[in-house]
């Protein structure tokens, strides 16, 4: 008896956790770098995210090689010289949202606290963002600064003026229940 109820409980707990999960159906990650010669922007629509409104857990994965630039050469340098995409193909975040009320129907400001990994370097960060429930879906967005030095992203000296020391990253996800 005890064994059976224990197993049932385990199954219920697992199912409960899974059912609460939301997965990203659409994503858009950008970065923007202000520089003296020219501003650099890139878009990435291949990111994925999972979110659990009942616990506030959130995670996302950005395939670094999928950033699209206006110039082929910049894309090459970004991957070859700065981000070393072959060695570190993914940037990731895993954390927990605070100030988040799963039931609220209006846009709410939240903070996601957790681990951001870029270029193989993991940092504890707090990312501000907004999240809004739209019918069955959630729309989340965030904008934050990434200091290149923190993630050991080296800018060759000859190009120092090409890229700012901090780049602005925006993250947009639309979630549907998994």
């Amino acid at each position: 008896m005890i064994r059976i109820s224990a197993i049932m409980l385990l199954v219920l707990v697992t199912a409960g956790a899974k059912a609460q999960r939301y997965t990203s159906e659409k994503s858009h990650v950008t970065f923007f770098s202000k520089a003296a010669l020219e501003d650099i922007t890139a878009d990435n629509k291949k990111a994925n995210s999972l979110m659990n409104p009942s616990t506030g857990d959130i995670a996302f994965v950005v395939p670094v090689g999928e950033f699209k630039f206006e110039q082929a050469l910049m894309e090459e340098h970004f991957n070859e010289k700065y981000l070393e995409t072959e060695k570190f193909p993914r940037a990731t975040f895993q954390g927990k949202m605070t100030g988040f009320d799963a039931a609220a129907t209006q846009a709410q400001k939240i903070t996601a606290k957790g681990k951001l990994t870029i270029h193989g370097v993991t940092k504890e960060v707090e990312i501000p963002g907004t999240i809004e429930k739209k019918g069955e879906k959630y729309a989340a967005q965030s904008e934050f600064m990434v200091k290149l030095e923190d993630y050991k992203i080296v800018i060759p000296q000859l190009l120092w003026q090409k890229v700012a020391e901090e780049v602005k990253v925006t993250v947009n996800f639309t979630y549907v229940q998994q």
């Binding site: 224990a6 999972l50 670094v64 070859e80 895993q94 090409k162």
Partner: protein
């Protein structure tokens, strides 16, 4: 023990209950933690980034598999001095100069078109290069590009040409497959099977149809510096051919929109016809030309 639990003594039952609840208690936090990132990494597609196999479009004299990208115009200035064994009288080759000025434009990321003018034989050349296959981390193991080119020799002048020499005799054609693999971020190797057809050959110039197999590679030393080398073996040269196989070495330095290559090679030529089938220097006898290739990239069209 589980199959005959009805014979269990009460103590054993208690122990079982305690162990089970202990397991549950430890299991619960694990579930509420919910490893979202772990699950994401399992399901997310691997990167499809296709890497830079070579820094530029030229290995030494010949092409690499690289195309330059849509809307990009590359200006390439190549220069070879005379032979270093020319002695002080020739200032070790610096008195001579052979130049090719060229332009290449990326129609798409995979298709490029180029034109050039080479002072050797006063030649004009044009080519198309198309990337057939791109090496991917979880896909194709190789990158393959096809090159098709035409060369028009404006030398000799019409009045100096041998009897019966017509303008069509000035043309020759190159077909080349470029097959490369990036083995590691530092090491890339390339094979270049080549077919060259000349409409007209002089008495010492061998067959109209000539084939060769090229091998080459590059070794990256730092993010901006690498070494490259290239060798073309002629498969069907005439036994009496005065020409040799071409060999070249390069040092590549990349900055911003430039690639700067310093080369040492036994040929004056900078077009396939010349350097593959009409190289006259013996590298190991000191018939070495110092030279450089300088490229500058202009982005004409934004994506």
């Amino acid at each position: 023990m589980f199959n005959n639990s009805h014979t269990m003594r009460p103590v054993v039952k208690h122990v079982t209950a305690i162990v089970t609840s202990a397991l549950l208690v430890t299991a619960l936090p694990a579930f509420s933690q919910d490893d979202l990132l772990g699950d994401l990494e399992k399901t997310s597609a691997k990167s499809t980034y296709s890497s830079q196999t070579f820094k530029g479009t030229r290995l030494v004299n010949g092409h690499t598999i690289e195309t330059i990208g849509e809307g990009t115009l590359e200006f390439i200035f190549s220069h070879r001095f005379g032979r270093v064994n020319g002695g002080v009288y020739e200032m070790f080759g610096l008195d001579d100069a052979f130049v090719r000025i060229g332009l290449e434009y990326g129609i798409t990321d995979k298709l490029g078109v180029g034109i050039g003018r080479n002072s050797v034989d006063k030649s004009l050349d044009g080519y198309l290069k198309y990337k057939l296959l791109a090496q991917k981390p979880d896909g194709a193991p190789l990158t393959i590009s096809a090159l098709g080119g035409t060369t028009y020799k404006t030398s000799p002048k019409a009045e100096d040409a041998p009897a019966g020499f017509e303008n069509i005799d000035r043309l020759s054609y190159t077909a080349q497959l470029l097959i490369a693999r990036k083995f590691s971020p530092a090491i890339s190797l390339q094979l270049m099977p080549t077919y060259i057809h000349k409409n007209y050959v002089g008495s010492t110039e061998g067959k109209n149809d000539q084939i060769a197999m090229g091998v080459g590679g590059r070794f990256k030393v730092t993010r901006s510096l690498s070494f490259s080398t290239e060798y073309y073996y002629r498969i069907n040269p005439d036994e009496t051919s005065p020409y040799r196989n071409t060999l070249g070495f390069g040092i590549e330095i990349e900055t911003g929109g430039h690639v700067f290559q310093i080369v040492l090679t036994n040929t004056r030529g900078m077009i396939e016809r010349t350097f593959i089938t009409e190289t006259d220097g013996d590298f190991f006898d000191g018939d070495i030309h110092l030279g450089f290739n300088v490229t500058r990239i202009f982005q004409l069209k934004r994506k």
